[in-house]
């Protein structure tokens, strides 16, 4: 019987488990895996090719990773007369008589520059009379590795040695690594992340954002629940409904209303205009005003969560206690301080921990309002990860780096929620089943 119930339970859990595996477990494992690669739009997600570009050579020159001789050899284009190149020229439609003569007289020879090769060609009888056509015909014998795609490492190495660049093993490795267009395993994401000053700036922003919005949420939630508790029923219903509006409104609309309120053609500017002030865009005008708006936008939504939770906790307090205190001459402040607040300890703790976690990972309202602006000053960690990996103006999406940033968030998120499980007495939630136990 017990085993059958176990099976029924697993059957009942199966759909949920499948969805959790597909949409949580696999993505998280993939994120962890991406975090150690340099994947992005530039590298693609599948394999890559080997492509040496002039840009890479310039980088070698700038970094002085290779000596000059090697660099010139890599960048040079030598000319070789061999079977492959002859076949290539034939395919391109050069006259067979001309090619035959090249084969006969110059076979196996290598020319370091186009000029030398041209000089040799000019001695041939069947050469094109037109100089431009002659120059054009040299292209088929070029052995430059520049700007040619090679599908395998082997091909690329052969091409390099054909080119005449003699590379020692470590140098060869540098060149092949730099020319590879696919993704590779790397821990660079984390080292860059921790060494970049921007990261710390965003981290501090996130901290400031979480602390300020949290403080606003808790204090304002308390304020709302206490005041509405003491107001006549009609008024308290009205104010609670008003404060629920931001929560039930779709974020896009809610932020739009804030935009209208703070924009330079909006409400506040209009009102201030009556007193002779110039129109001002509070949402993006200055760093301080942008932060204020961002915190208010999030705070007004969050305050209602505190309001709901605290209100129901206050309503659970037996009114006889409050009446008794009143008879004893306590004023409202004393009632709040000595009767109500002690009862709210757990709801406050719960709201604090819950809000911290969701603020840490949410970026929707900032994305819709300031987009992290002006100039990235209101950027937070989750938003930065989103921009890096999924949405930026340059179009170069860095999945790997974004995943590394997200991985930091997951680590924090999981450890914090495990902490909460202990804090909120998880065992009380897991009451034993009473049939067949």
């Amino acid at each position: 019987m017990r085993q059958r119930i176990g099976l029924l339970g697993l059957g009942f859990m199966a759909p949920a488990m499948i969805m959790v595996v597909v949409f949580f477990l696999i993505p998280v494992i993939m994120t962890a895996f991406f975090a150690f690669t340099n994947m992005g739009t530039a590298t693609g997600v599948s394999g890559g090719e080997y492509l040496l570009t002039p840009k890479i050579i310039k980088q070698f020159e700038a970094n002085q990773t290779l000596d000059e001789k090697v660099i010139t050899a890599l960048g040079s284009s030598s000319y070789i007369v061999n079977k492959t190149n002859l076949a290539r020229a034939k395919e391109a439609g050069l006259k067979s008589k001309y090619l035959g003569e090249i084969d006969k007289k110059l076979h196996g020879k290598t020319f370091a520059s186009r000029r030398q090769f041209e000089r040799a060609l000019k001695k041939l009888k069947s050469r094109p009379r037109n100089t431009r056509a002659l120059i054009k015909s040299t292209a088929h014998f070029s052995n430059s590795v520049l700007n040619t795609r090679y599908e395998t490492l082997g091909d690329f190495k052969t091409a390099l040695s054909n080119n005449g660049a003699i590379l020692a093993e470590p140098q060869l490795k540098i060149v092949t690594q730099a020319s590879y267009t696919g993704w590779i395993w790397t821990t660079d994401n984390f080292t860059t992340m921790f060494s970049k000053p921007d990261t710390w700036f965003v981290a501090v922003n996130t901290l400031v954002y979480v602390v300020l919005v949290l403080a606003f949420n808790i204090f304002f939630g308390l304020f709302l629940s206490l005041t509405t508790f003491y107001l006549p029923t009609g008024q308290s219903v009205f104010f609670r409904a008003i404060w629920l509006l931001p929560r039930i409104s779709p974020p896009v609309l809610y932020v739009l209303l804030w935009k209208w309120l703070t924009w330079d053609t909006g409400f506040i500017s209009t009102v201030l205009g009556w007193f002779g002030m110039a129109p001002y865009n509070f949402m993006l005008g200055s760093v301080e005003s942008a932060w204020t708006v961002v915190i208010l936008i999030n705070g007004f939504v969050g305050a209602s969560l505190g309001m709901i939770l605290f209100s129901s906790a206050i309503q659970a307090i037996p009114t006889s206690i409050l009446y008794a205190s009143e008879v004893d001459g306590a004023n409202r402040w004393q009632q709040i301080r000595y009767i109500i607040l002690p009862q709210l300890r757990w709801p406050i703790l719960f709201t604090t921990s819950y809000t911290t976690l969701s603020l840490l990972t949410s970026f929707e309202y900032i994305l819709l309002s300031t987009r992290g602006g002006p100039g990235g000053t209101t950027n937070v960690w989750a938003l930065e990860a989103y921009f890096t990996a999924l949405n930026n103006y340059s179009g170069n999406l860095q999945y790997g780096y974004g995943a590394a940033m997200a991985l930091v968030l997951v680590t924090i998120g999981i450890s914090v929620s495990l902490l909460y499980l202990r804090l909120f007495k998880f065992d009380d939630l897991v009451t034993r089943p009473r049939i067949e136990s």
């Binding site: 949920a16 006549p232 499980l421």
Partner: protein
């Protein structure tokens, strides 16, 4: 504590303070309605003309833009299919977690709570790549599944809470009479949690209706846009900032939310108490 007047307390200062703090919200939502039917001179706040022109988006579609009705239909499909998915999956999983004595129950419960706290942005990067590879990028199916999966831990947790309130005696009686546990669940327990089902259903629907980030990432194309993405892209593209037009679309967008909220207010409060937004 509300109606009686106490000697040591007057309520009007509190009313005034609350009104002052609530002013931004009052102003925003008042003008949300007023501005959609009127025109106002720049520099003034009092409308000088009554008009329906801001509602022209209902019967006119700007070139290069999708019709509002397509976006509405997409939103409706997105929200309702997602809700059906969340309900059906959490209906069984919640029961198993609440009542069935199965292996690893503790582990599952802890897992559900942990998943609930999971940052969306972590999952989204990997899902973005997976969806592109399997060809579900820019389709409603893909984003429906993702949103449903992200809602699931919350849904399961809420359903478990509702199952927890059903008296054990009902099930005991059923089992005594020889019914199987499945039968007991189907015939006796399910009718008991109907209110919970409705509450979670309405809540999920509203969540889906309002969702912005996921459709923005997974279905940005015009023909699969939902209303939130439609409105957001309109705001982002417009250089003149025609707030009256935005507000009219916004009012059109929020109306179903308000109606559903007024109808199911009391049921929803249970769930909002659990909280899902910062």
């Amino acid at each position: 504590m509300s109606n009686e007047n106490s000697r040591n307390f007057k309520s009007w200062p509190v009313t005034i303070i609350l009104t002052v703090f609530s002013l931004p919200i009052l102003v925003m939502y008042l003008y949300l309605v007023v501005d959609t039917f009127t025109n106002t001179e720049p520099g003034s706040l009092i409308p000088n003309e009554f008009t329906f022109e801001h509602w022209r988006f209902l019967w006119e579609t700007e070139p290069g833009r999708v019709s509002i009705w397509t976006a509405t239909l997409n939103t409706l499909i997105f929200a309702s299919v997602m809700t059906a998915l969340v309900l059906s999956v959490s209906l069984t999983a919640g029961y198993a977690l609440s009542r069935l004595n199965m292996p690893y129950r503790r582990f599952f419960l802890g897992g559900v709570l942990t998943l609930h706290a999971f940052p969306t942005v972590t999952l989204v990067i990997a899902l973005f790549i997976v969806l592109q590879m399997v060809g579900l990028y820019n389709t409603l199916i893909g984003v429906i599944f993702i949103k449903a999966a992200l809602m699931l831990p919350f849904g399961i947790w809420v359903m478990k809470g509702f199952y927890d309130t059903v008296p054990w005696e009902i099930e005991m009686a059923g089992v005594q009479d020889g019914a199987s546990r499945f039968m007991v669940w189907h015939k006796l327990v399910l009718p008991q949690i109907k209110p919970g089902l409705i509450a979670l259903g309405v809540f999920s629907f509203l969540e889906g209706w309002s969702e912005y980030v996921l459709p923005q990432i997974f279905t940005p194309d015009a023909d699969v846009q939902v209303l939130s993405v439609y409105l957001a892209s309109l705001i982002a593209d417009d250089q003149n900032f025609d707030f009256n037009l935005f507000k009219s679309i916004g009012l059109f967008y929020i109306m179903p939310v308000i109606v559903l909220y007024l109808l199911f207010q009391n049921k929803l409060m249970n769930i909002y108490g659990g909280g899902s937004k910062g």
